[in-house]
């Protein structure tokens, strides 16, 4: 206890006597940790943005009707396969409706499953958009707006108008941005759509939908589910797709297999739907790990070097202290305390620097067609980076103080004196 007091006292004198050196050493730490935090926040911010771009809007499992040839053809049943070689050319799938058979029971079963966060029905119909003398091919999907907003961030893609207009007004439409541009329509205008049977519907534009993918925005619009069913001329149980969001994305494959086995439908999981994206995302994650480890190593060496020099300059003091009766341990603690103080000081400043610069980056405008909701560069304020940063600052400064001090601890005082 009494020794601790002397140790702190000596450390304080050392640190304050050479304020400039102390500051330089601490700034070395600050810079290293600050850089780490900035890079990580920015890099993972971008990654999350890209992931979110796809993952947030893509259903974990998409359910739709199977259109594939029957696996067991009638001929196979009649002439058993073991003794005969049945060969049929150009098998075609049986004609089936686009709607999912028994969609409503499936939907309510899914909603009961506690692995499922939510499931939304959609009814899709092909239409022509008419405005004046123009007409354009298009697709209108009927949705349950509230659920789409909750599960798939649907609101983020409505760049103009109000997403809730679909609920307020039955004949409201959220028009694809490409369509709106081509027909030079905007919110509040009317648009005529014609279904495949030639029936005409007048809809009012409640908002503009922009996904960022031009080929989608040029054809896709959204209306209320009921409205879509009406355009289709079908009843309330006509549902062509069900989109499922799970609590854990990793359940996508097993759940989609389960659905396929239980019901007579096709279920596509997100891994298959976004195979390329998945690989890209894995590689980006790998890169960010590599970069973060590299940054930490570089910062660590910088910190270690600066502090090591700081300590070596004090070797003479070590010899004197030992000569006058301080033990090797006392001396070691003196230098560890100094190193840790510098690490703490530099680390806290580094956190400040990292946070400050992150805030600045967060304000820099970043506008892109593809990302209607993004206005500035993305930053990930994950506290883990800050904790890692300060932990690392303390570990590397501790080692930078500990290693030379441990060496000095073992030396006879005279060996240091003669070494000068």
């Amino acid at each position: 206890m009494k020794d601790l007091f002397i140790i702190l006292d000596i450390s304080k004198t050392h640190l304050l006597a050479k304020k400039k050196q102390t500051a330089v050493a601490a700034l070395g730490v600050t810079f290293g940790i600050g850089m780490f935090i900035i890079m990580m926040s920015f890099m993972t911010g971008l990654n999350e943005l890209l992931d979110g771009l796809v993952l947030n809007r893509t259903p974990h499992v998409q359910i739709y009707n199977k259109t594939a040839p029957t696996e067991t053809q009638p001929s196979d049943r009649y002439f058993d396969v073991l003794n005969n070689l049945n060969y049929i050319h150009s098998i075609k799938p049986k004609s089936r409706l686009e709607r999912i058979h028994n969609a409503l029971p499936i939907l309510s079963e899914l909603k009961k499953n506690d692995q499922v966060k939510g499931a939304t029905p959609q009814a899709t119909c092909k239409v022509f958009y008419l405005a004046g003398s123009n007409n354009l091919n298009g697709v209108i999907s009927g949705i349950e707006v509230k659920e789409e907003v909750r599960l798939f961030n649907f609101k983020d893609y409505i760049v103009d108008g109000d997403v809730n207009s679909l609920i307020k007004k039955k004949n409201s439409i959220l028009l694809g941005a490409g369509v709106a541009k081509k027909l030079s329509l905007s919110v509040g205008d009317k648009i005529q759509v014609v279904n495949t049977k030639g029936a005409n519907f007048s809809l009012s534009i409640g908002g503009i939908y922009q996904s960022g993918l031009a080929e989608v925005d040029d054809i896709q619009s959204y209306v209320n589910l009921k409205m879509a069913q009406q355009i289709l001329g079908a009843g309330g149980n006509y549902i062509s797709r069900i989109h499922v969001k799970l609590n854990d994305i990793n359940d996508a494959v097993p759940i989609s297999t389960l659905i396929k086995n239980l019901y007579d439908v096709e279920a596509l999981d997100i891994k298959k739907a976004n195979a390329q994206f998945d690989t890209g995302s894995d590689i980006r994650t790998l890169i960010s790990y590599v970069v973060s480890i590299t940054l930490l190593i570089v910062a660590g060496f910088g910190i270690y070097n600066i502090l090591n020099m700081f300590i070596y300059e004090k070797m003479n003091d070590i010899a004197i202290l030992k000569a006058t009766g301080f033990t090797g341990k006392d001396v070691m603690y003196i230098f560890i305390v100094q190193a840790l103080v510098i690490g703490m000081l530099g680390g806290v400043l580094g956190i400040g620097l990292g946070y400050g610069v992150s805030l600045i980056i967060d304000e820099i405008p970043f506008v892109t067609e593809a990302l209607p909701t993004i206005k500035t560069y993305p930053i990930n304020y994950d506290p883990l980076f800050y904790v890692t940063g300060i932990t690392f600052a303390l570990i590397s400064t501790f080692l930078a103080g500990y290693l030379p001090a441990r060496k000095a601890q073992k030396l006879d005082p005279v060996e240091i004196i003669r070494g000068q």
Binding site: A17, A323, K410
Partner: protein, 223 residues
């Protein structure tokens, strides 16, 4: 007879750059309160011997006994404690902590010993500085002193814990004859009053003549 320090056949070699036998069969004895000076040509091994006797160098052959304890059995921490408590050392090149005040330099060994509280230690330190005539410098940084002043601070530091033995490596080397005399008188008085023994390396014949005994060294031997 009352031995405070004794060596038996101490030998020391330097291995770098070539093997060099610095100290050869050194056997000396130092009595309580005895004031002994060591003389010899430059390079004959006086500093080397003093470092060994003060336990700051443990790399030698032979035996060193201080106050009845054999030093070869001690751990480094024990040696540090013994140096702190029993030995006051005055370096040839004074060796103060440059960033600390004069007062702090003198106080530190006593703070480490921890026998007295900080206030008493401060008072003692000021007393010792006063004896050596540099009490007025107490709050200056050690690096700001002249060579002679530094040397006197080093002497004050060596006596702060009232050690059993004071070893000095030319403690008056940087001092004029008047101050050199003051230092001699201080040391003499301490040895008588506080039961301290002195082992002082010096090139100053006048200084040496006033001591109880002179040990002559030549080429690593005691004559």
């Amino acid at each position: 007879m009352n031995l405070i320090l004794e060596t038996k056949n101490i030998n020391k070699y330097f291995l770098e750059p070539v093997k060099f036998h610095v100290l050869k069969d050194i056997s000396i004895q130092l009595q309580r309160q005895e004031f002994v000076s060591i003389m010899g040509k430059s390079g004959c091994g006086k500093s080397t011997l003093l470092y060994i006797l003060s336990t700051m160098d443990t790399n030698y052959d032979g035996e060193l006994i201080i106050d009845g304890q054999n030093m070869s059995n001690q751990t480094k921490d024990d040696l540090a404690r013994i140096r702190n408590e029993k030995i006051g050392f005055i370096f040839q090149f004074h060796y103060l902590l440059p960033e600390f005040t004069v007062l702090k330099n003198v106080m530190l060994p006593a703070l480490k010993l921890g026998k007295d509280d900080a206030n008493t230690i401060k008072k003692n330190a000021l007393e010792k500085l006063d004896i050596l005539g540099i009490a007025d410098q107490a709050n200056k940084k050690a690096s700001r002193l002249s060579g002679g002043q530094k040397q006197r601070v080093a002497i004050a530091r060596s006596i702060i814990n009232n050690p059993k033995i004071i070893m000095g490596d030319e403690p008056t080397g940087n001092l004029d004859s008047k101050n050199s005399e003051i230092v001699f008188d201080v040391l003499r008085k301490l040895s008588a009053e506080l039961d301290m023994s002195m082992l002082i390396v010096t090139h100053d014949h006048d200084f040496a003549k006033k001591t109880d005994r002179i040990i002559e060294m030549e080429d690593g031997f005691i004559l």
